[in-house]
């Protein structure tokens, strides 16, 4: 027996973890997909561990873990407002929808204008790795960046990713400490395989409201998610331009033309078919370091003049 120690240990581990995965496949691991013809059930256990779901995690706290948006509304205590925001988002409309609350005289939509780099001195950029790239290669040295690789809409208010005075704090804390003139927001690619369009938008609209609360005087730019190349889009069931466009259409509806504006960098980085240009990227998802200038130049055409 002792001669086979490693063999036995490996086989036992395989069997035991597979049993755990199999038993939990419809409960605690229900949100993971497996193909039993190709992968053993124990993969579920490891995937769970990666996301903080352990075999001994009970069903109760799991529902919380899975329904990210509920967690968030619970944490922020804004469930009702959130639904209202969602209702708003569902209103049909173009880039600049009219206010849902009936107003007697809608003020004129504010127009974009050309600005220079100093415009961004009091701006904060919030987002995922694409915004990290803008920070590192965009040359906007005076702007503030609260961005991290892998950031997604569901975790952005709980994760401590903002560096303020050498310390990592949550976005809420960071935005509470300083008032910015502009908030630039681009998020939405990491979570494409998670939740659905509705849960994403619910969360997104709530986040915009939260910006509004924390930065009452700032102009908020909601940016369309940058698309991927044709090669990537055609090959990927989840991370494709169809999904990105569906999200962008809905994000655009959040703009009010007064303090919230929708801008879409895809106008300057995509080809005629609306796919990210091949020559701008290596991995089909991110701009090359030397191409972030295109994004910056685009942003410079989307300034908003202060109101008289």
């Amino acid at each position: 027996m002792l001669k086979y120690r490693v063999t036995l240990l490996v086989l036992l581990t395989w069997a035991a973890l597979s049993a755990v995965g199999y038993l939990g496949k419809d409960t605690i691991y229900k949100n993971y997909k497996t193909d039993p013809a190709k992968t053993p059930y124990f993969v579920l256990v490891f995937e769970g561990i990666h996301d903080g779901i352990y075999p001994w995690s009970g069903q109760g706290n799991l529902d919380e873990l899975w329904d990210d948006y509920e967690i968030l509304s619970f944490l922020t205590g804004e469930g009702e407002e959130m639904q209202q925001a969602d209702g708003e988002a569902k209103e049909p409309g173009e880039n600049m929808p009219q206010e849902t609350q009936a107003t007697e005289e809608a003020p004129a939509v504010r127009e974009f204008c050309e600005v220079d780099e100093s415009y961004f001195d009091d701006a904060v950029f919030i987002g995922d790795s694409r915004t990290v790239g803008l920070r590192d290669y965009g040359g906007l040295d005076k702007a503030t960046f609260y961005a991290t690789v892998g950031l997604n809409i569901y975790d952005m208010w709980t994760e401590k990713f903002c560096e303020v005075d050498g310390e990592k704090v949550t976005l809420e804390e960071a935005l509470g400490q300083r008032q910015f003139g502009k908030v630039y927001f681009q998020i939405g690619i990491n979570e494409m395989g998670r939740g659905n369009l509705e849960s994403f938008m619910q969360q997104y609209a709530m986040s915009v409201q939260k910006f509004r609360q924390l930065q009452p005087d700032a102009i908020i730019y909601v940016q369309g998610i940058m698309r991927v190349t044709k090669e990537k889009s055609d090959a990927d069931k989840i991370f494709n331009n169809e999904g990105i466009c569906a999200r962008n259409d809905r994000i655009a509806q959040l703009a009010d033309g007064q303090t919230v504006f929708y801008i879409d960098m895809n106008d300057v980085v995509c080809d005629g078919q609306g796919n990210l240009r091949d020559d701008l990227t290596f991995d089909d998802l991110h701009l090359l370091g030397s191409k972030y200038g295109i994004w910056v130049d685009f942003l410079k055409t989307k300034g908003i003049r202060p109101q008289e």
Binding site: V6, E47, Y137, D283
Partner: protein
């Protein structure tokens, strides 16, 4: 089907092993032959004919060479040898260099070298031509080493092909090697390789010089752990089937010269070139000039074997230059030194790997300008502090990679290999490998975050 996939490890392999062990001894080769064909077909069905054709043609030509034990080496034997080699290398050439083929058939670079060695050895009378077709087929297609080596000589496994047993110890040793090889790939290579991936995403024009150097080292470690891990897995699988597959890597990064490095890196390929090219050309016995010429031929072929693109030629030429330099001047000095040799090696070899990695020659030039910024500027937007974050993220992996590039961990492991503690260590390594494989396989986006 790569070894480091769940499909191979937990579906194909267990099923195959059960059938293999249930098969009576007499038919074990047939089972292995069939299993290897199944393995190849799952990976790349359309080229299975090419592989089987290679077995059939070389089997027949080798059998025709010496029809009687008394027959001597003459013109007919030579013609048959040339015919066989023309066919084998002709097919390789067609798929690899002619530009007519869209893709390279799986494993062709490796199995062509193995079968060529076999017919040459038969011609030389080193081994008799194999009479049993299944045995030759089993040898050439054996799935543990079919796709990426190690390159095994027929003579080395001839005995095992006839008669082999798998003892409990052998099987156990096989599992250990398999786990350790897998760990090298998924715990070290795949993860440190992400740095190289990040650098490509940023674009070479935009990386700082420190990051360029980190990239060169990261790629060097990735390549080593990927390839040596694969070879180790092949050895493990071989042991589980009753074959002894030769060692392919012997701590190459602890070498003190490029000459020594290449005696420790991809050992079976080096051995092949020595035995079938360098020595037949006269090796180093015909004077210094002839030795250099022979080295040139070997390295030109080695570069070509790796690929037909220009960057491989640059890579081969840079290695050849270093080998010449060492042979003519540096070697005695490097071998005596205690520190300089190591520093020199760890400086030049990563540079040669950069040439190996970057296929676009223009991009290669850009990379070298980032490595040595005094050569000129590239005009990209460079963030001079980009390396700080990567240093934070990758230092543990670098340390892990460096540590396991030395013989120290293996020496330590050998001290308690046979104890319970040793088995538990292997199990923990297995668990960690499964963890990294799980989170990367089904959802690469959890792993390669945006």
């Amino acid at each position: 089907m790569v070894f480091s996939s769940f499909e191979f490890l937990f579906r194909f392999l267990p099923v195959f092993l059960i059938i293999y062990y249930l098969t009576p001894k007499k038919y074990k080769n047939l089972t292995l032959f069939a299993g290897s064909i199944a393995f190849y077909t799952i990976g790349e069905a359309e080229y299975i004919i090419l592989l089987l054709g290679c077995v059939v043609i070389n089997y027949v030509l080798a059998r025709l060479m010496y029809r009687h034990d008394t027959e001597g080496r003459g013109t007919r034997q030579k013609l048959l040898l040339i015919l066989a080699l023309c066919y084998d290398f002709g097919v390789l050439f067609f798929y690899k260099y002619s530009g007519f083929a869209e893709e390279l058939p799986l494993g062709i670079s490796f199995y062509t070298f193995q079968i060529a060695a076999y017919v040459i050895d038969v011609y030389r009378g080193k081994v008799p031509a194999e009479k049993a077709f299944v045995r030759l087929g089993t040898y050439l297609t054996m799935f543990p080493q079919l796709v990426a080596g190690p390159i095994i000589n027929y003579a080395d496994v001839r005995g095992a092909l006839r008669d082999r047993t798998v003892s409990a110890e052998q099987f156990e040793e096989g599992i250990r090697l398999l786990v350790l090889g897998l760990a090298a790939k998924v715990i070290v290579a795949d993860r440190i390789g992400m740095l190289w991936n990040n650098i490509q995403t940023i674009g070479f024009a935009s990386i700082s010089t420190p990051l360029a150097w980190m990239g060169a080292f990261a790629y060097s470690l990735e390549l080593y752990f990927d390839f040596s891990g694969y070879s180790l897995m092949a050895r493990g699988l071989g042991a589980m089937l009753g074959f002894e597959i030769p060692v392919n890597f012997r701590y190459p990064y602890i070498a003190k010269s490029v000459t020594e490095f290449w005696r420790r890196w991809h050992i079976t390929l080096g051995k092949w070139f020595r035995e079938y090219v360098y020595i037949p050309l006269g090796g180093n016995r015909k004077g210094k000039a002839r030795t250099l010429l022979n080295l040139f031929v070997v390295w030109a072929l080695t570069a070509l074997w790796h690929g037909a693109d220009y960057n491989y030629l640059i890579w081969g030429a840079s290695l050849l230059f270093l080998l010449f330099l060492e042979k003519l001047v540096l070697l005695p000095f490097l071998e005596k030194s205690r520190v300089i040799g190591h520093v020199y090696l760890l400086f030049v070899v990563p540079l040669t790997w950069v040439a190996f990695a970057v296929e676009d020659v223009q991009q290669l030039a850009v990379y070298f300008m980032r490595l040595f910024p005094f050569f000129g500027t590239t005009g990209g937007t460079i963030n001079p502090l980009d390396y700080v974050q990567y240093l934070d993220d990758y230092v543990p992996l670098f340390l892990l990679g460096i540590l396991f590039s030395t013989p120290l961990p293996a020496a330590l492991y050998r001290m308690f290999e046979k104890k319970w503690f040793g088995s538990v260590v292997v199990l923990v390594i297995f668990g960690l490998s499964m963890y990294y494989l799980s989170v990367s396989v089904n959802n690469p986006f959890l792993y390669f975050n945006f």
